[in-house]
């Protein structure tokens, strides 16, 4: 079994467009939406939920009425999550990382760690394959942990059904959900665009993939909007031995078809459709070879 994660650094470069069209062309596969706080893969794949599970995330500290206001917890909290005044102790849920130091140092047992449901994850059937996806509660923490849950659920299915390929649509950025989506995969596909922002973020995410020793490919989306920047990306790739697996043309049909919930590859005369098919054909050897 091979696993590939599609990432980008910068958002909106076309990760989900590439992922959803790959999913339509692939066989013996399973799809994972690892962008758990802004998931979009379900929009084109139209999943029918088969199984639903709660996601219990990390703990946060809660103060109770036994508090004697001694301030020990505030002193030792490294995350500035506790504010202390002469009348009470307050915990900032957003800053609390559930480390348990306050619970440990509290002399009267007035702080306990509590775990809460922070979202849900689903195993669904689609027209093309199974999809494992999630919904993190709006604003919740631990998105990386939820990505790991979703990937474990997908791997369980993949091993039991002798699946050949797991296609993972990643999140933007380079932080914890992205790292969780890259952990242990065979390949990373970086979708970038020839803008100065795209290039800057591409280099960062490339260093992350390299840090975790993952074989990385690059796809330059909308490559024709700035030929000079496209050359810059290509030379960076040549210098660092990264395979540019393909380039996709700027194509206004992409958002237009998306608005109708249609796949670009179903319009074979469309420039982007031709380019994406070509990239898929190059990948097939890596996935099924």
């Amino acid at each position: 079994m091979k696993q590939i994660t599609i990432i980008s650094g910068k958002g909106g470069t076309g990760k989900t467009t590439i992922a959803s069209n790959f999913i339509k062309m692939a066989h013996d596969h399973i799809a994972v939406d690892a962008d758990v706080d802004a998931a979009n893969l379900h929009i084109l794949l139209n999943p029918i939920i088969e199984k639903q599970e709660d996601f219990i995330g990390g703990a946060i500290a809660v103060v109770n009425e036994n508090c004697i206001n001694c301030g020990k917890c505030e002193e030792l909290c490294r995350f500035d999550a506790i504010s202390y005044s002469s009348t009470d102790i307050r915990i900032d849920n957003l800053k609390c990382e559930g480390c348990g130091v306050c619970e440990y140092v509290c002399p009267v047992g007035a702080i306990v760690l509590k775990k809460e449901k922070q979202g849900q994850f689903y195993t669904s059937n689609t027209e093309f394959c199974k999809l494992v996806h999630a919904r993190l509660n709006p604003g919740a923490e631990n998105s990386g942990l939820l990505v790991t849950r979703v990937r474990n659920a997908a791997e369980d299915i993949a091993y039991s059904q002798d699946t050949k390929l797991v296609i993972i649509d990643g999140a933007p950025g380079i932080g914890c959900p992205v790292i969780a989506s890259l952990n242990g995969v065979d390949y990373a596909l970086i979708v970038t665009e020839p803008t100065l922002s795209g290039i800057s973020d591409f280099k960062k995410i490339y260093y992350v993939a390299k840090f975790f020793n993952i074989k990385t490919f690059v796809c330059i989306n909308k490559f024709d909007i700035n030929p000079k920047n496209t050359v810059e990306i290509e030379s960076f790739c040549a210098l660092n031995n990264i395979e540019v697996i393909g380039k996709v043309s700027y194509d206004e049909n992409v958002p237009k078809l998306l608005a109708q919930k249609k796949f670009i590859i179903d319009y074979p005369d469309s420039p982007a459709a031709k380019d994406i098919r070509k990239i898929w054909e190059r990948f097939e050897g890596y996935f099924y070879g």
Binding site: G9, K10, G11, G12, T13, T16, D35, V36, D37, A38, N40, I43, A59, L76, R78, F79, L94, E97, C99, G100, V101, Y104, V105, L113, L136, P138, G139, A140, E141, N142, S143, G144, A171, P172, G173, I174, G175, V178, I179, E193, P194, T195, L196, S197, G198, S200, D201, K204, Y207, F211, F212, I225, N226, N229, Y250, E252, P255, K256, L258, K261
Partner: protein, 279 residues
Amino acid sequence: MIISVASGKGGTGKTTVAVSLALAAEYCQFADYDVEAPNADIFLKPGIKNIKKVTIKHPYFLTDTDKDFSGCAKFCHYNAVAVIGTEVLFYPQLCHGCGGCILVGPEGAVREKDVEVGEVSKGFSRPGIDFLEGNLIPGSMRTTTVQNELEKMINRSGLVIIDSPPGNSCSMVMSVKNSDYCILVTEPTPYGFNDLLISMDVLDSLKIPYGVIINRDGIGDTVVEDYCNAQNKKILLKIPNDIEIAKCYSRGGTLFDYDKSYKEKFQKTLEEIENSIFQ
């Protein structure tokens, strides 16, 4: 007054909007909270004057003391410490730097060292714009630690513009939570709409007022606009889809470089926001 610029979906034009607001205001503090992929510097071109490293503390274990470290492994909520026999295994990727292992471990046998997770930098972009930016080191997961450092440098007595990271999780909440108003930038596609609704949920629960800017208007459908009209959500501005804007952006140009009349439009937007806050 703090105005944050956020979006559920990435790449909808947060930075374009945030930079335009700063240039329209002329005097403000600008903070790039997208520490995983900061890009505002490309457009605001600040001269960076000051860089401060952001560090957290990681433990190391003096194992030649023959002491028992199993309490550290038991305590660690992140599973960053494991003890097998006399050997201590430490997984730096998982450590949040809480210092718990020092409290529970054998006295004096757990020490700490600083580990760099990123930096915050400070500079000036044109006279009038104070520029702040956070940068996470690739491979680190301490996004909110770097953001927390930025938060300490915010001076809310004047106008502050915050450029948030995409998404709707903790790093987005860190960026918007102190704002008086949030602008949600979206694009008129099913992806943009889906993620916009989640961002609205976040802001509603934080009780932060917000308005919507529709970028690349015309590329997809009218679902965003229809929804905002039906639900009485303020649409502050629509920026039309135009390949020339995209080309200008790709070279590091601002919206004003492309068309000067945007300055007036964004000044009006700022005025409108101010009026809605202080009504």
